[in-house]
Symmetry: C2
Subunit: 218 residues, 2 copies
DNA sequence: GTCTATAGGACGATAGAC
DNA sequence: GTCTATCGTCCTATAGAC
């Protein structure tokens, strides 16, 4: 039997496989965490319940996440990334300007509505003691940037007033967007995007925003 | 020493005093509960921490509230009542119609911003396993009723379109209101009403609502 | 990377004496 | 209505064998 690849020249596949397997297990843990949070509430996740769901003993979990808060942080980070990716994907499929803003926000909203537990973790503060790390929070800042750039495009195209891309305009837009999502999450979870009492207001809310920042007369 | 009022004719003051003292203690418990929730998070309240704050033993608490959820329910009920009272008070000080709507919502918003912990309990779902009883939830329905009636007045006075008082109009209005409050609670707690990035949008949001439901031409 | 064992608590709630 | 005592349960996290 030849040396099986240990030592300095242990090769590239062994560690890769191990790392891949580890990532798969981490992903499985996070999936089960979401399932538990769905049943027990966002703040109701415990390492013990997570271990039961995985049919392993609690100490084994700590090989994958150093603490309960680290699980929340990774959920937060991946949730923000997925939300950002939804926004980008929606924007790519639309013409630059207000169309991109509306399409991006609709795509992000659809993502949030279909991931209500993660949305609560991202948009509210339901877990005592949890604060996302700067790294996990970064995609949220990128979302604001993306929207602001699209609003500048819209202003340049004469679709809205330049003030739409101001801090105040961004605050108005996020109020409309997260207001709709908050009302949905608190009062209308279960309805899907196209039938929700609040989510179906999406187009009207965008129109209200445009009316609030009409393009300057030329 | 005369008989101190026991027996069949024990009088009316004795029990009253006892009942009053009991209510004072309950109120003190609820005050401390809010303080703990401010420090530990809304979902971080425990009977043990409450007993420590009161310098009594945990079992004594159960003479005043039968369970931890009963504490949350009473906080929810009194919070809803206070919020309703703020709305009514604001509306009373304004002319009927949209002025009353705007003044009532501003007063309710000011109450929420100055009671952020209770506001989270009322507007979000942060406590695993807690659902308010119908009794505790009743004032929330009354708030909707009050606003809808004021919007009907506004429509009758030709200030807005009658659709403003429709289910959809109410959904839009609540989206604006709770969107502003949610954004404030999640991102800008600490700022007061007049200086908050979101709360200062109040008048603009009301104006956007009116623009969205302009009165029918006569 | 899995386990057993366990430290070391905190918690909700109840029983029963006073 | 206060206490002591306690039940039974849950928890996070670590130590150390394999």
């Amino acid at each position: 039997m030849p040396e099986s690849g240990r030592g300095p020249g242990q090769g590239t596949r062994g560690p890769d496989r191990r790392a891949r397997r580890r990532e798969e297990t981490r992903a499985q843990i996070l999936d089960l965490a979401v399932a538990i949070m769905t049943d027990e509430g966002v703040a109701g996740l415990s390492m013990a319940s997570l271990a039961r769901a995985l049919s392993i003993q609690p100490p084994s979990l700590y090989k994958y996440f150093p603490s309960r808060m680290a699980v929340y942080d990774e959920l937060f980070r991946q949730g923000q990334l997925a939300n950002l990716e939804a926004l980008r994907s929606g924007m790519r499929g639309a013409a630059p300007g207000m169309d991109a803003v509306a399409a991006g926000m609709e795509a992000a909203g659809r993502w949030a509505v279909s991931h209500p537990v993660l949305a609560q973790l991202l948009f509210w503060r339901p877990v005592p003691g949890f604060q996302p790390t700067a790294d996990a929070f970064a995609p949220a800042l990128e979302i604001v940037d993306q929207l602001r750039r699209a609003l500048r495009d819209a202003a340049a195209a004469g679709q809205v007033h330049p003030d739409a891309a101001s801090d105040q305009g961004m605050a108005v837009l996020s109020t409309l967007h997260f207001g709709m999502l908050s009302q949905h999450l608190a009062n209308d979870v279960g309805s899907d995007w196209d039938h929700g009492r609040y989510t179906r207001l999406h187009h009207q809310l965008i129109a209200m925003f445009v009316s609030a920042y009409p393009p300057a007369a030329r």
